[in-house]
């Protein structure tokens, strides 16, 4: 007999319940409890439960008394069934939409890897120089890539860079318009912010769970979507914030001279919000780097795979060196985007 038998009897639900716990597999905890307590054979009268050990009326505890109430594991299975039920219709819609992402990721990976190192490294150094015009940052980029190439981690680093490249571009292309729309409508802002909060607080591994069900692990878009969802948040937030923070007096002046809302957006709001938007882009790059490592769990190539190998095979050295390369990549991406951003800011003020 279970603790809550009396409750169901009192409510007159005994018949509906149809007796005590349903059959089916026992949980490990139940098995252990039985083994330890020497076990009371089914049907035999259990000793009365002391008041202090009264279990919380949870699904499992209630199920003991009333078989019609599902157990916790039945509930999770229900969720799973529900998810599987909508999986197919969802896939019909999502698959074609997201297919280009796979192509882009694969194409970019091929392209980045097809370019020989003696072109790629100078190219990256040149990009660093022309976007930042800072000798220090350029030297950092040069040193980092030469170092990674020297220790044979160049290919992984380039793969990681390629994924970040594609995901950041898509995140910015999607995020900036969403941010602009949010800045113009309070209702939209109110409804999008909880979604952004959720995306940001969700543990990164939890992202991968529904995606694995939806798409096959061999498809590149699986990790592409995970990275974009995770990394898009700051660029949306900071675009919205940046536009909302534009000096009200300047906006009023634009109105007073009869600017249309399009002229105002392109001529005043976006240029003045640009430092904030660029800060968002910087954060988006950093977050895609964070996610690309975790995404190696679902077959994203690059440095993350090496880190994972380090964990799986207990290859301490491989894991540490790959981790160091990720830090290097993070620092150089951060420094060069910040320096490029600083130049945008400076050219505003002349």
């Amino acid at each position: 007999m279970a603790t809550y038998d009396g409750l169901f009897e009192a409510l007159g639900l005994g018949d509906w319940c149809g007796g005590g716990a349903t059959g089916g597999p026992m949980t490990m905890a139940e098995l252990l409890a039985r083994a330890q307590g020497g076990g009371t054979p089914d049907g035999a009268a259990e000793p009365a439960v002391p008041l202090l050990e009264t279990p919380f009326p949870s699904l499992d505890a209630l199920n003991q008394a009333c078989g019609a109430i599902p157990r916790s594991r039945d509930m999770t299975r229900g969720v799973e069934q529900g998810f599987l039920a909508i999986k197919d219709p969802l896939k019909v819609v999502l698959d074609p939409i997201t297919q280009p992402l796979s192509w882009m990721l694969d194409l970019s990976l091929e392209a980045f890897q097809a370019i020989p190192w003696f072109i790629m490294i100078p190219l990256l150094i040149a990009i660093a120089w022309f976007s930042t015009k800072k000798a220090g940052v350029t030297l950092l980029v040069a040193f980092s890539f030469l170092f990674m190439a020297f220790i044979n981690y160049y290919d992984d680093a380039i793969q990681t860079l390629s994924i970040i490249f594609v995901c950041t571009i898509i995140a910015v292309l999607l995020g900036v318009p969403v941010g602009i729309a949010m800045s113009r409508s309070n209702a939209l802002q109110r409804s999008v912010i909880p979604v952004l909060d959720m995306l940001q607080t969700l543990p990164t591994f939890v992202y991968l769970v529904p995606l694995i069900f939806l798409f096959s692990v061999t498809e590149s878009k699986l990790y592409g979507i995970a990275i974009i969802l995770y990394a898009i948040v700051p660029v949306i937030r900071l675009t919205d914030l940046g536009i909302r923070l534009v000096d009200k007096d300047v906006i009023e002046a634009a109105d007073a001279f009869g600017m249309s809302s399009r002229q105002k957006l392109w001529g005043v709001q976006i240029p003045l919000a640009l430092p904030n938007i660029m800060a968002g882009v910087n954060q988006t790059i950093m977050m895609s780097l964070a996610m690309v490592v975790i995404a190696s769990l679902v077959s994203a190539p690059g440095l993350g795979v090496k880190v994972l190998a380090g964990i799986r095979n207990l290859e301490l050295g491989v894991g540490l060196v790959a981790g160091f390369c990720i830090v290097l990549l993070a620092v150089l991406l951060d420094r060069s985007t910040k320096a490029a951003l600083g130049r945008i800011d400076a050219s505003d003020r002349g």
């Binding site: 000096d247 007096d249 300047v250 009023e252 002046a253 109105d255 007073a256 001279f257 009869g258 600017m259 249309s260 002229q263 001529g267 005043v268 240029p271 003045l272 505003d348 003020r349 002349g350």
Partner: protein
């Protein structure tokens, strides 16, 4: 310049304008019309009475100054003219058309072609050069080409900013930034210029310079200017027509000299008690208007001279009389006794003069 102005046609006419801030301004408006005053409206109904039954005619070619302390609703009022703020009730008629009936396109045209605005905090585009800022109005209209830059350069020169075309606003001092603001407004080639506390953020010497610049430009351009200020000296210096606001209502309006000599409200008497009347009042305001030949005249003075200069000529002798001349003709006689009496602040005049 000030005399024949009263005949100027009415450019902007504000009729029975009300503005109430709150959740349900229409309902609150009914309370106001039923006689609920501003403090009660806030206490009992939670609405702020911004403007209350404003009636002002703004004449072409004049500088109309709207003066009031902070919170009096003057900045709210000027924003009704180009509908940066929409009223709760009333009419704003510009060039004979009710701008409140305008749709989005007509409103944009009004703002682009008919009215320009100068702001207290300058509100220049920080990411554009001085030259681009000055040319902004015409670029907004959709014009393009080098003509805009040429025009902008001309106006920048006119406000004394030659050589600063390539600078960014943040590189200029406050006074210079406001010169850009004025050049930007002038370059739009609009007939009406709204100036919202345009000189209030500047330090006193620069402010005087800017006032002189404005008067000098006005002598040449004859724009219709609506100027907002909280500074009485500035108001008296610039105004052809002075409107005094208090708690969202017009307390008195008219010719500044007239308001000074015949204030009709304790509030205005308080206001004007501290100013240097001898410097502000003009001969024509205190003279006896007549064409008769006076006897024993000590000389001739100009109708536009201020009293201070006449006192200097008379060396303080209150028994003298002067012939008052304007454009080479006699327009009146000035008795020094009247002049001295005019220097004493007046008590509230007859209630018939009350406007509000």
């Amino acid at each position: 310049m000030r005399d024949d102005m009263n005949e100027g046609e009415v450019k902007i006419s504000i009729r029975n304008l009300y503005k109430i801030f709150g959740n349900d301004p229409k309902a609150a408006l009914q309370h106001v019309r039923d006689g609920v005053a501003k403090p009660e409206l806030l206490d009992q109904y939670g609405h702020v009475l911004g403007l209350q039954d404003i009636n002002v005619d703004i004449r072409a070619g004049q500088i109309t100054v709207i003066m009031g302390l902070s919170g009096s609703g003057k900045s709210t009022l000027i924003r009704h003219l180009n509908r940066l703020i929409d009223p709760t009730a009333g009419e704003v008629i510009v060039n004979g058309e009710d701008v409140l009936a305008y749709g989005e396109r007509r409103l944009a045209e009004l703002r682009q072609n008919t009215m320009s605005m100068v702001f207290q905090k300058f509100a220049l585009l920080p990411h554009k050069t001085v030259l681009q800022n000055a040319g902004m109005a015409r670029r907004v209209k959709g014009e393009a080409g080098s003509a805009i830059d040429e025009d902008a350069r001309k106006w920048l020169g006119r406000v004394g900013l030659d050589g600063y075309e390539g600078h960014y606003p943040a590189q200029l001092s406050g006074g210079m930034q406001q010169r850009v603001g004025i050049a930007r407004a002038l370059a739009s080639d609009s007939e009406i210029m709204l100036m919202d506390e345009a000189f209030s953020a500047l330090d006193p010497l620069i402010r005087t310079d800017m006032q002189d610049l404005l008067l000098e430009l006005q002598r040449e351009l004859h724009k219709t200017i609506v100027f907002i200020t909280h500074d009485l000296d500035e108001a008296l210096k610039l105004a052809d027509h002075l409107v005094i606001l208090k708690d969202g209502a017009v307390v008195q309006q008219g010719e500044p000299q007239d308001i000074l000599l015949h204030p009709n409200d304790p509030y205005i008497i308080d206001f004007i008690s501290d100013i240097n009347r001898a410097r502000v009042l003009r001969v024509r305001s205190v003279m006896e208007t007549t064409t008769r030949e006076g006897s024993g005249l000590a000389g001739e003075v100009d109708a536009h001279q201020n009293l201070e200069s006449v006192i200097a000529i008379s060396e303080g002798d209150t028994n003298l009389h002067y012939r008052v001349m304007e454009d080479g003709k006699q327009v009146g006689l000035l008795h020094m006794r009247d002049l001295v009496k005019a220097l004493v602040p007046v008590e509230a005049a007859d209630p018939a003069r009350r406007v509000a």
